[in-house]
Subunit: 347 residues, 4 copies
């Protein structure tokens, strides 16, 4: 299964084509829509005021409710666009946005309105594609769930069990520990009030994978497959598996996961490896953390350069922006993980 | 350019084939060999006692000293193998090694001797392939250099300039701050004496890249391309770009890199983004950090399971192992980065 | 540049997404539409009565008339569908159609209406994608043109020059020799009157390619790249380069193309090789012939099997079908060739 | 499973790496060697006098006789090289060889000795890779067999049954009709005596494939997958499926294959389609024909250009060459078909 996402924030439509979808899946389009709704803004005062209807239309590859095996295309109409907000930004790239490198890569031809193809809005078709992947995985007993791990330095609890994580992932503000969640929300609102933004991280787990998937080699190793999907999410700047960057502070005797027999199955007593050894799944939950940089769109004045004149100028960004994209990123990370898991399983 | 690495630790030969190598490169095989020598063990008391000759033989794709454009294969003969050391491990997988998932993936058929195809020894052909890539990059003024960033929690200094990092990368113990390096070596030797191992991280930079390479999309974004190459290195468990995981603790006003004009060129005043915005290079040095888990091979007794009997058993690993692979991983990270950079440049 | 075609004959929409389109192309959408019009039915009494509006809408990747480098999606709305015509065929596969293998591959879930995703209608987005490719090629002085070579055993003349072939390709019935064309049309109409269909072949040339493109190796050789694009056109059953199958009747002394110097450039005096030696372009026009089987949809009674009952049944196909798809296939072959040429050029 | 072939005719070694080989195959290396022996020259007076030992050494991916799933590399040492024969040809490209386009593509750096990487000798590792593929296919009841269909206009009989084709394929001169074979041999020897060469064609069938493999789409359709593998064989200039180019002379009523029920299975009464409809296998034998151009190396004087001086010169090629490569191409076509079949089956 391969996917290709297309569209721009202020174009007529955004969408995704999935090729290689196995035939015969009774696609639950209501469940697909629920995934999009999880991602939609406007549910929480911490999010952007932009309303995104995000109604998914499957226009190919589906017949009488079942996938046909032909390429499956999902379209989402765009609406509620304030393109005028962006004209002032056309030649004054927003710091740490894709604006400047996008200007160079597109030879000055990019659609600058609302971030164009760089917009976080393009995560809507990603969630839609991931929703198809999730339904394929569910047939195999595989489930993906995530929660907010960190926002602006404030940590959520670790998850103990699959049901606990699944429950947390479905919350409007998806944390395990609601008290920690309240602190995170306060940090986001504080940033918002100050015209600033905050970063954070999402921890995600894939449950139900058998041991033996993947390979150590380039292009086939489990970490590499997941990382490629995860870094395609805008604003992701780090991907860690299991203990992740903390391995750099650890000794082997602490880091190693002893092997044991549980219900007749070889199991690791701990899961520092995040379910992967030598690039291959070991049968434990596959666990990884994805770090999101703070939204670069802040209202505070910033320095930039006018690309027409070369003059250094002060920039104040208008428009409606998430002070923190991490809460809405939870279903996006799950979607990318679902697509990665399909690739790993050879679906 | 694509590469395929083959071989096993105790097989007759290991090697790599590179296809799509541009024709006409006057390959400096002595420089290629020097890269392999940087990786070779036995230079430092902190490393494994295993001697690896690692002499690279280019057996195809090279004629009269120049690349022909045909697939270029490099072979390295194996030697100094103590295969007997590994027989005891055949059915008692070492915790946190590829042994158990490799057993499952290979249906019990893997070459268990010396880690087989999972062995860190397979990074030798990776370094050889990377050496070819480096010479192609040098023609375009692009240079890759790395240093040890962390070992067991002990930090090296940050790099200020390209010459400083290049100089550090060539040291026998590649750090910027030799005093920090001494502390790191002491931690490694302490772990070694205690039958333990330590993890760490390598920071790497690619200098000389133009702005505008890559794309935000899956399969084309700069971070994803690099991550896929880096996670193919054994023991890598995290990849971060620029400020990386610390973005989760940061506000946008601190994280954003103001844009400015320097020598008539749009430049970022800081480089928190690690040279990448929106998946595209911005003309700043591309900077990333790669975390290595502690070597799972430790002498301390560990718990595992006998795959024949299902019994839980105590395991003591014999053989010669690096208590810390991070110092030798520096040229390996550079090699993977050089291959990723070639992919990014469309070489 | 990669493309993904989606949609079904009687679905709401068909389309294509092109990723990796170079930025900055001032896309001539009128020229794109003209390519679609060349393919559209209803221009000639020999073609199907089905009217296809085939208006292309570029919905992404284009901004202010120029390509942005982001994925470019072209949508074509469907209309004028007589889905009811096909209900009788749902479980009685038409001989030599994709019906039966499609039934198996889709586990019985394919969209059977109008051939679904197997329909020749899906060549409309292919022509649209090819139209983008042609405009990119024109920037490099590369031009693709084709003509009908054979219909039902009746041959067109060979082309002498690029202008002659280009002129022929633009005709309503694209042949070099209009007298031969009249005979072909008579054969088609005769088949139509008899409820039958006829096969044929399209000869195509790519002009303006430099020598040295491609490689002998799998996945990179020129013939293989073209063949993969050409066989993706429905009903194509043979692809030949230069002298093609007639090489099996030939001696080397006749088949070899002597090398000579023309205008200071190494040139072949003849072009039996079709512009390719050793999988690499030699600077001569790249010439190939593509054979199309007769349309399998004929009105004459045929034998098939009822997939529900297993009974052998007589089948009479209703609906509107081309008795010969070859005339309309000329722009389709050109489109596939344009995409193949872009792949060869690394666009 | 992917493969990468490397080496040059007069280099130290030629070989192939197969990645993605399923683990657990008990590789019959003697059977692999027998495939190489079928291709080896010197068995028949019609073939080249060059002796090729062609002993295959599996140097990775195999342990205790079974595939491990790690990349499997096969090396074949070169020997019996008369490199001096080729020095005169270095700057006077042989007409219709890869010499001139190879010169351009390699920027003048190609290994010209014995055709270098363009040599037919590179089909030895292809046969070795195909031998691995055949053993994987045999596990699934799939068998590939071929015969000489045409040499210099002389036709072999058509095959009736799988056993008849399998028996013919194993002959020293692999034809069904030995009388036709004698005429072919006479034509080859006549060409040889006259310093000339002849072309021909190989017909191949894949038996035992289920219906439903492949898809109509680019990159997934059965014909395209096979064609890409077949055109990677040197000297192949046409690929036809089933009735092939003769479809251009045929009406639908003759070309269509009626469907019938045989042993409870939907079957085609004829096989004009060559086992493929709509790009998908239909359960009939997959049948295709591959045309080989006459060997361009002939002893007769030819015209070429001296690349150093630009002067037109007369060329007489020395060295030992096959006057017809078609007999030795039979196992090569089978090997390419076996690899294509593995790709189709998702192996």
């Amino acid at each position: 299964m391969r996917h290709m996402i297309f569209g721009e924030s202020h174009g007529p439509v955004i969408g995704v084509t999935l090729s290689g979808v196995p035939a015969g899946l009774a696609l639950d389009t209501a469940a697909l829509q629920r995934q999009l709704d999880r991602r939609a803004p406007g549910k929480d005062p911490t999010a952007t005021a932009r309303k995104e209807s995000d109604v998914a239309h499957v226009v190919s590859g589906l017949f009488e409710g079942k996938t046909t095996g032909a390429p499956l295309t999902i379209l989402i109409q765009n609406s509620d666009q304030h393109s005028g907000d962006y004209d002032a930004l056309r030649y004054t790239p927003r710091p740490s946005h894709g604006d400047y490198p996008g200007f160079v890569a597109s030879k000055g031809c990019q659609d600058h309105r609302g971030g164009g193809h760089f917009s976080g809005r393009l995560t809507a078709p990603l969630v839609a594609a991931g929703a198809v992947a999730r339904q394929l995985l569910a047939q195999r007993g595989v489930c993906v769930a995530a929660h907010i791990a960190i926002i602006d330095g404030e940590y959520d609890a670790h998850f103990d069990t699959q049901p606990a994580l699944e429950a947390a992932s479905q919350k409007a503000f998806p944390v395990l520990d609601d008290a920690a969640g309240e602190k995170m929300r306060a940090l986001i609102l504080d940033a918002k009030e100050n015209g600033d933004s905050v970063g954070g991280a999402v921890e995600c787990a894939v449950f139900g994978l058998p041991a033996g998937l993947g390979a150590p080699d380039f292009g086939q190793n489990t970490e590499g497959i997941f990382a490629q999907h995860l870094f395609a999410i805008p604003a992701v700047k780090a991907v860690e598996f299991g203990t992740g960057t903390s391995f750099a502070y650890t000794r082997g005797s602490e880091a190693n996961d002893p092997l044991t027999l549980q219900d007749g199955k070889v199991t690791a007593a701990t899961n520092n490896a995040g379910g992967i050894n030598g690039g291959i799944t070991n049968g434990m939950p596959l666990v990884f953390t994805t770090t999101f940089r703070p939204t670069p769109s802040i209202s505070l004045p910033q320095k930039t350069v006018d690309l027409r004149t070369g003059a250094e100028v002060d920039l104040v960004i208008k428009g409606r922006h998430d002070p923190c994209i991490v809460p809405r990123a939870v279903p996006v990370v799950e979607a990318a993980a679902a697509l990665a898991t399909c690739e790993l399983l050879g679906i």
